[in-house]
Amino acid sequence: MSLAYYPGCTLKTKAKNLEDPAIASMEVLGSRLEEIPRWNCCGAVYSLADDDLIHQVAPVRNLIRVKEQGKNEVVTLCSFCLNTLKRANLLMKEDAEKRGTLNSFMDEEIDYGGEVEVVHLLEVLKDQVGWEALAQKVKLPLRGLRVAPYYGCTLLRPREVAVDDVEKPTILQELLEALGATPVDFPEFAECCGSYQIVSSPDDIPKYAWHILNSALSHGAEALVLTCPLCDYNLGQGQKELMKKHDEFDGVPLFYFTQLLALALGLGPQVCHFELNYGEPELLLREKNLLPRGEAL
């Protein structure tokens, strides 16, 4: 089976460790993630201004690319891309006037009226592959690995585009269980990482990061799993500074959900690119016998 796939710019530059293991894992699971042709930036952030239609052009154009392929579903990996595309899609479905304006503006493209569904790979794993079927394909169960599922904001909010229950999501926990890992719940699972405040107020980010990381650790987690390159950056890049500030903090590995998926499916570190991760995941994985001994990352 082939799934229309929207990667997003960050996955092609900074977050290869999110994309590569996803593509390889889906091959193993019998579904090919087929990159849609001629995609452009998703818009990065959904514009909340009511009269700012020009910023809906980028996401809608991507949805048109999917429709052109004769597909009615597109899979995303990055939470921000999911959020932006899905909200633009809702606008095109529900607001006839704005739909008309956007279609008229993009008169070089075919008309679009929300025919495509935007889904996250987590939803594909849950609804199309199924946790039981996934569990049966696991070659290297992540036994003894205690991982805190961190959802962040854009996977769950606003409610209309959430991939799971907004208040009590379980989809990441279910994935971890299917892979043989131990999910560790913690109250800050959906606290904001600071998001794009990293650009305007970078000094504030360590506060947010510490709040989240410290909570996960104090609830017994050895690592966090996440879906968003921006969360990864905000929770990861300041860890060295946090270690200087907090004696008891030794850093904590951050994994993309696709890396744990690929690892459990037996795809190994060549596919997972752990070398791009924050928080020295190699040490933890070796300790848990989840990396082949002596093999360099």
Partner: protein
């Protein structure tokens, strides 16, 4: 036209005949003013016919230099059209204006210090990320380049794809003139093609070997021999040289294998 008419002294041509021979004139609006110009002229020639003189800013007149970017509209069509004035022939009632130059800042860089990392482009042209995918650039390209797709490729860190897509760019600047995000697409593409050519495209190993052979004097003797010939000898040598037959197969080799 009969033979008899053809043999007639041109001076005897009547006024009526002159009118019949004359090229059809069509109305065009150049910089907002109406002119009647002969059908079939290029926009550039039509402007000269109307009295414009191109001392500078007319470029190569061959469609490759990018100096005669032109915009026009036709009555009843809201679409802005683009063309190169030296390539496009006039159409009745078109409203034409030339944009021989459009200001766009080119980043300064020391090329020898650049790598093939996508971040080089991001750093030199941070305005890249102001693109909102409106696609006005693509519509403005007289070369038919998918300009927006090439910009998307740069954002995705795919310098190779940006270089490939923009290969036909003649740097006329019309994309830049239409850009909502104030990007200087054509300068970014030039940077992409430079990086691609120097840092990404694989080197031709046989070229380096050949240059080395030349430098080591492998061809000196043959060259000296040629230089010592008079005109007649040169001509004969040229005519008698061994030429690969049209029907030669892949494994054809010349009799003289000294320089293979």
């Amino acid at each position: 036209m009969s033979v008899k008419e053809n043999n007639k002294n041109p001076a005897e041509t009547t006024v009526k005949e002159k009118k019949q021979l004359a090229v059809k004139l069509i109305p065009v609006h150049i910089m907002g003013k109406r002119y009647e110009v002969p059908e079939g002229l290029t926009i550039m020639k039509a402007m000269e016919y109307a009295g414009y003189r191109f001392i500078r800013g007319c470029g190569c007149r061959g469609g490759t230099c990018g100096a005669c970017g032109t915009v026009y509209r036709k009555p009843g069509d809201y679409k802005l059209q683009v063309a190169l004035a030296c390539q496009k022939t006039v159409e009745p009632d078109m409203y034409v204006a030339q944009i021989p130059f459009f200001p766009a800042n080119r980043a300064e860089y020391k090329f020898t210090e650049l790598t093939s990392a996508p971040e080089e482009v991001f750093r030199l042209y941070p305005e890249l990320f102001r693109c909102v995918a409106c696609n006005a650039c693509t519509k403005a390209c007289p070369q038919g380049i998918e300009v927006m797709d090439a910009i998307s490729a740069l954002k995705q860190g795919n310098i190779t794809e940006a270089a490939r897509l923009s290969f036909d760019c003649i740097q006329c600047g019309l994309c830049t003139s239409r850009c909502l995000g104030e990007l200087a697409q054509y300068h970014m593409f030039q940077l992409a093609r430079r990086i691609y050519g120097a840092r990404i495209l694989s080197r031709a190993e046989h070229l380096a070997e050949m240059v080395k052979a030349v430098e080591e004097g492998e061809y000196e003797e043959a060259l000296e021999k040629l230089k010592g010939m008079n005109e007649e000898e040169l001509k004969r040598a040229y005519q008698e040289r061994e030429v690969e037959p049209v029907s030669a197969g892949e494994d054809w080799k010349p009799k003289d294998k000294r320089y293979l």
